[in-house]
Amino acid sequence: MAWLDRLLGDDQAVCEDRDIAATLAELTAQVAVDALQQRAAKTPELLVCDGRAHNHQVMQRLAALLGPGVAVVSTAARGMAPKRVEALAFAWLAQTFLQRRAGNLSSVTGARGRRVLGALHPAG
């Protein structure tokens, strides 16, 4: 909110809450679509997780920006509750670490290569 307050500055008084919410939804959708088109332009289906999957405006904007070639659906449609996905990602990272497999995409994190991520703290 501090970030948003700073950006809005003196315009805050004249902006309607619904316009601010719509702008944030548009930003969320645009950023996701930009990333998808850069990294995986041929994706036929976009699975959306977390709060965004329940945000009608975000889902609608994603679908509109991506066009008819990409199905935009909640992860619930593939059997996983949207709110569980991020926590499961960390279970996956832990599993990946325990198997000593690389868990990073160096193109995303800026690392030089693929690396086993994390550290083990044994109990007892």
Partner: protein, 142 residues
């Protein structure tokens, strides 16, 4: 894990079909534990403050790491109770750290990353029920 928004902790209990293969995870139980407003404001302000140089950072970072570990303890206990699973049956607790400095490839290209959680405290606090699982610290940034 809690993530950068610090609105609470999401914890999931999952099984893998085999430990030695790249198998899919199945989620058995899920808990969302919201932070109370005071803890959230305090931890958030301190983690943000630790992003920039300040006084007595080592001590303050250690206390913040303790706070992150404490925040994970209750949801993990709740998750195990909810699923009826003993801590001894858990292979590992994958805990997300909170990033306060991330400087990859700088300083002679060695770089560094500082991410906070007191993993030993996390083990101690989440293993009261039975024998403890190891904590595998996992992070998306490396």
């Amino acid at each position: 894990m809690s993530g950068t928004s610090l609105d609470g902790v999401n914890a999931v209990l999952a099984t893998a079909r085999a430990a030695d293969t790249h198998s899919a995870l199945n989620d058995l139980a899920f808990v969302h534990q919201p932070f109370n407003a005071e803890l959230r404001a305090e931890l958030r302000a301190e983690l943000l403050a630790l992003n920039t140089p300040g006084i007595n950072e080592i001590h303050r970072a250690a206390l913040a790491a303790n706070a992150v570990a404490r925040a994970y303890a209750q949801p993990v206990q709740q998750l195990l109770l909810q699923a009826g699973v003993a801590a001894s049956a858990v292979t590992a607790l994958g805990a997300q750290e909170q990033t306060v400095r991330h400087r990859p490839l700088e300083f002679d290209e060695t770089g560094y990353t500082v991410q906070l959680i007191n993993s030993d405290a996390a083990v101690a606090r989440t293993t009261r029920l039975a024998l403890g699982p190891p904590v595998a610290r996992s992070t998306l940034q490396s």
